[in-house]
């Protein structure tokens, strides 16, 4: 019986086991793979690993500092040997039964391990899905590929049709005979780039593809040229392929199922949800602790600190978390005579929206948040600012100025800023500090994480969002209380891109308010959908037919993933009754829209251009670079200017990207309303800021490449920082150095590594985006979708 069993030898698990060893606690570290830190082993050779967050001190018996993958793994291996960690490799956990003091861990190999406490640090990668056929344990079968360059002149079969399979197949095909086994008759799951590569390779014969085929077994061979046969079931019968190696890339089994089978509960079905934990990392199963990425902490240093702390907690030692000093500094200056934990508890007690958040999550939230005490009358944010943080009021009041005639006072315990948080759009009101107020500002990313894991927070925010939206947009002079019954009847809807919200000719029974995303309005002319206009978030849609009591005059479709709030006919009439002047304002809006529609309708080329722009995903853009091909002379000064002002790498590719009529959409960041790149950035290096709302990547980027993969438009690259450009005059007069903004720039220093780079809208340049400023003819322009109507309507 071990005192502590640690499952998973990642950074957190290693640190925990090392702490046990240091304290002479009877322990075992169970690792399913044959090496430590499986996820980091899978990084490419020589990859630079960063040690974010820089401000957090490391607390662990084993070393960790930013550096090359090999050095870090080497340090850890030495570290666990030195302290004497008891590690079992190849010990994959199948099930856990029992309870605190008497857990039984069953392994895949049939063994059982007994422990009083369990620390789970299995990360999020999951275990690779096995082939599930006889012979899958054979030595020729592997589930990862570290370095394609290691293999030469072999016959290799890749099982799978996803991106990983295709990337491996392409890389191996350079020096080997490669087969790819695809269960279906096409590569439906692959990214477009990979799809083109694999189809070209199959056409050229460099890779042989077995379509509609699945493996039936692996047969070891004695002697001969090949060590094994792969048996395949194909659409035309059985096949036998002699091989040196089989690489199965069938994806991973997400760890959530496994974790749930241990009895650990997740608060919601949301795939980003993390298990509810106490401030001491204990799950709902007493004696079972969760640390690292699985518990919502994706960074190496956080996981290592938790590994150390959790052992201390289990042993009943009273240690302050490593972040204690950071929080103390943050809360310093608040008028409370309390320890950090006390202040945090007070905050949760006073602010109802945080009441249901567990202590650990709240602590994490506060680490990301800022507490400030603005003087009375100070601006907290201005209307039309492009910020999207979330504010809660700890003490005092704030004044929310919705428009010059409407000022609402928000009291302690309430929150504001949720409109921009939800819609990703500019601030809809200005907020000023009231007397003696203390506010907590929380970044969007942290709030989104919280909303996806705590249902109560989501519910409260949604309800408030609806009622405040109705007040702001329709009934500014009506008190919130009177609007509550209308808000209670409102419904939330989600639409996928291109999904129809309502159709031309339908009976009009609801009004939609676009909460986030955007929609296109189209009508059918000669059997063809003609796009009339584009409507961004924070706008009502469908009010025309409701006002006129007629059928829908146009079809409205989601341009991107869109959320709306709908009001039924009765609520709408009630609203018209209670809010004086609303009818007139809506009628004026309807008139504007009619005028716009007529302008577009008369010109089918404009409408085609609008459809094209929407087809390029520009509906979710906030600021996009377009090039008028009719006046572009192809000088590429835009690219040179970008490279010259951004460490030698141009963040735009002028030639790439589609063109319709004379409008070209180069490959360049369009600063999406709800940026996909920001969704999974471990150090939170991607930010949105400033008045322009630009999305930019900070220097704390760890080079993981998540954003590059997540961007649907391929505008993020991984690049080295380069030397400063050479002097213009020495280049011009004597041909010395590089042409400004051109040429291959040198990599700086030995320890440099690739970081993600993308357009930052030249936020650090005075005078605005350098691509547009450098264009000699005026072909380059930056627009937001609201301007598209003007763009397409210019008769040339």
């Amino acid at each position: 019986m071990f005192e502590i069993a640690v499952i998973g030898a990642g950074p957190g698990g290693l640190s925990a086991a090392a702490r046990c060893a240091e304290l002479d606690v009877e322990h075992v570290l169970l690792e399913s793979s044959p090496k430590i830190a499986n996820t980091i082993q899978k990084y490419q050779k020589g990859k630079h690993v960063m040690a974010e967050p820089g401000i957090l001190p490391l607390r662990s018996p084993i070393e960790f500092d930013a550096g090359k993958r090999e050095a870090i793994l080497g340090n850890w291996e030495t570290g666990i040997k030195t302290v004497g960690v008891n590690i079992q490799y190849g010990a994959e956990v199948k099930a856990i039964s029992g309870s605190q003091g008497n857990f039984v861990i069953s392994l895949m190999n049939g063994e059982e391990v007994l422990a009083r406490h369990i620390i789970l640090g299995i990360g999020l990668q999951g275990n690779p899905r096995q082939m599930g056929v006889p012979g899958e344990q054979s030595e020729v079968v592997q589930y990862t590929l570290d370095d394609p360059g290691e293999y030469k002149d072999e016959s290799i079969a890749i099982i799978g049709a996803g991106d990983a399979a295709i990337e491996n197949a392409i890389a191996l095909a350079a020096n080997n005979k490669v087969y790819i086994v695809n269960r279906k008759d096409e590569f439906a799951r692959a990214k477009e780039g990979n799809l083109n590569l694999i189809m070209a390779a199959i056409d050229a014969g460099t890779i042989e593809c077995y379509y509609d085929s699945s493996p039936a077994g692996v047969e070891a061979l004695d002697g001969g040229d090949f060590p094994a046969n792969l048996l395949l079931k194909t659409a035309t019968g059985d096949a036998v392929v002699p091989l040196h190696r089989i690489i199965a890339r069938l994806g991973a089994i997400p760890p959530r199922k496994l974790v749930e089978s241990f009895g650990i509960e997740f608060p919601s079905e949301d795939q980003n949800a993390i298990p509810a934990l106490t401030s001491q990392y204990e799950s709902n199963v007493t004696g079972m602790y969760v640390i690292g990425a699985l518990g919502g902490y994706p960074l190496i240093k956080q996981a290592m600190n938790q590994g150390y702390e959790v052992v201390e907690y289990i042993l009943g030692h009273d240690v302050k978390p490593a972040d204690n000093d950071l929080l103390a500094a943050k809360l310093n200056g608040l008028p409370y005579e309390l320890e950090v934990d006390g202040v945090l508890a007070l905050m949760q007690e006073r602010i109802p929206v945080f009441a249901d958040v567990n202590a650990l999550q709240f602590r994490e939230l506060m680490l990301d948040s800022n507490v400030s005490m603005p003087a009375k009358g100070d601006v907290i944010f201005k209307q039309h600012d492009y910020t999207n943080t979330f504010f809660t009021i700890l003490e005092g009041t704030v004044e929310i100025e919705v428009n010059p005639t409407l000022r609402i006072t928000a009291n302690a315990g309430s929150f504001f800023g949720e409109m921009s948080l939800m819609s990703g759009r500019r601030r809809s009101a200005s907020v000023y500090a009231g007397p003696r107020c203390i506010v907590i500002e929380t970044p969007r990313r942290s709030m989104i994480k919280l909303i996806s894991s705590v249902a109560a927070v989501k519910r409260v925010l949604d309800e408030t969002f609806i009622v405040r939206t109705i007040q702001q947009k329709f009934a500014p002079d009506t008190p919130i209380e009177e609007l509550q019954p209308i808000a209670a009847r409102a419904k939330m809807h989600q639409f996928q891109p291109k999904e129809v919200i309502f159709k031309e000719g339908d009976e009009a029974d609801t009004l939609h308010f676009i909460r986030n995303g955007s929609v296109t309005v189209s009508i059918e002319i000669d059997g063809r959908d003609v796009v009339m206009s584009y409507v961004p978030a924070n706008t009502p849609i469908g009010e025309m037919a409701l006002l006129g009591n007629t059928t829908r005059s146009a079809t409205v479709k989601a341009a991107v993933k869109t959320e709306t709030i709908s009001l039924d006919k009765e609520s709408f009439s009630l609203l018209l009754e209670r809010s004086a002047g609303l009818k007139e304002r809506l009628q004026a809006m309807v008139k504007d829209r009619h005028e716009q529609n007529v302008a577009l309708q008369s010109n089918s080329e404009s409408s085609d251009l609008m459809s094209f722009l929407m087809g390029q995903g520009l509906g979710e853009a906030t600021d996009v670079l377009l090039i008028d091909e009719n006046i572009c002379v192809g000088c590429d000064l835009c690219e040179s200017a970008c490279a010259a002002t951004h460490d030698g790498t141009s963040r735009l590719n002028r030639k790439a990207g589609p063109t319709f009529a004379h409008i070209h959409v180069p490959t360049s960041c369009r600063h999406c309303e709800d940026p996909s790149c920001m969704k999974d950035c471990p150090p939170d290096a991607i930010q949105r800021g400033g008045l322009g709302g630009e999305v930019f990547i900070g220097d704390n980027c760890i080079g993981c490449g998540n954003c590059e993969r997540n961007c649907p438009y391929g505008v993020i690259q991984m690049a080295y920082k380069t030397e400063a450009p050479s002097n213009y005059w020495s280049w011009m007069l004597f041909g010395l150095g590089q042409k400004p903004g051109r040429g291959k720039a040198a990599v700086v220093g030995e320890s440099s590594f690739k970081q993600a780079v993308k357009c930052d809208m030249c936020k650090d340049q005075s005078g605005g985006p350098s691509c547009v400023r450098a264009c000699p003819t005026g072909a380059a322009m930056r627009l937001s979708p609201e301007d598209f109507v003007d763009l397409v309507n210019v008769v040339r």
Binding site: V633, P740, A774
Partner: protein
């Protein structure tokens, strides 16, 4: 939207240039009647100094457009001013001469300036004409796209003729192999096509692929049985290849016409700078 360098800031520099030209002309007409118009009068020096400063500033565009970090206006604005003020120089400098010309370095500087300005005016026209013409020609595709299509069609043709008679195989593959694209400056500007084809051991010019298409059509009329269908497919593909080559050739020609003026404009500006310095220095030496 769509603000080009010509209508930058509602044509601000057009009006500046008009004012400059107008003021110069008025001053010229009003100068003291007994004075012979000359570079040496007070007005002559004023116009000359203005012209010389203008020339230096106009040449500085070469620096400004590569000074990417500069916050001083946009390159579009600079180009707009460059075009309008550069054109106004034609009037300012001519008035400065007082219409006194000769075979000397002073007139050389003037002539060089005129050539530079005229080449620049051609440049304005070319920049407003060719990008649009090329975009329409290529139907919003890039030249690289069209080359890829040509590659595909060449591969397709080679595969298709591999099953046909040896004479067809020989002619089609020689026509593909001997297709010429681009070439020297003259070939690009004039759109010269020096493609060749080998028929019966003799090499013939194959401009615009006419010769090979004619041969294929003739050969098709002699074809029999299954050959007919296959050969007519080849003829169709070849027609598509001919069209692609026309587009490529026109685009290269348009691009050459769009850029060629710079090879005159820039070096002659440097020559003008040298002649201008000589002009100024000599005027002061022989004062």
């Amino acid at each position: 939207m769509h603000i080009s360098f010509l209508n930058h800031a509602n044509g601000r520099y057009f009006w500046v240039a008009i004012a400059l030209v107008g003021a110069s002309i008025v001053a010229y007409l009003l100068q003291e009647p007994h004075q012979t118009p000359n570079g040496g009068t007070w007005l002559g020096y004023t116009l000359g100094t203005m012209g010389a400063l203008l020339i230096l500033w106009l040449i500085y565009l070469g620096r400004r457009k590569r000074n990417f970090a500069a916050g001083w206006g946009t390159v579009r604005g600079w180009v707009s001013a460059h075009v309008y003020l550069g054109t106004s120089l034609l009037v300012v400098a001519t008035l400065h001469t007082g219409f006194q010309f000769g075979i000397n370095v002073h007139t050389l500087a003037y002539v060089l300036m005129c050539v530079v300005i005229v080449s620049g005016l051609y440049g304005v026209w070319a920049y407003r004409t060719y990008p649009e013409a090329r975009n329409e020609l290529k139907r919003s595709q890039t030249l690289d796209d069209i080359f890829l299509q040509l590659e595909d069609i060449d591969g397709q043709l080679k595969r298709d003729v591999s099953a046909l008679a040896a004479d067809i195989r020989g002619v089609v593959s020689s026509a593909i192999d001997r297709t010429e694209i681009g070439g020297g400056m003259y070939a690009q500007l004039a759109g010269v096509d020096s493609s060749k084809v080998m028929i019966d051991g003799n090499v013939y010019p194959n401009t615009d692929q006419v010769r090979v298409v004619a041969w294929l059509v003739q050969r098709l009329s002699l074809a029999e049985g299954s050959e007919t269908g296959k050969l007519s497919a080849v003829v169709r593909s070849y027609g598509a290849r001919q069209k692609l080559l026309q587009v490529i050739r026109s685009d290269i020609r348009f691009q050459a016409l769009q850029e060629a003026w710079l090879y005159l404009h820039v070096p002659l500006s440097i020559a003008l700078l040298a002649a201008l310095l000589t002009h100024i220095v000599s005027v002061f030496i022989y004062w």
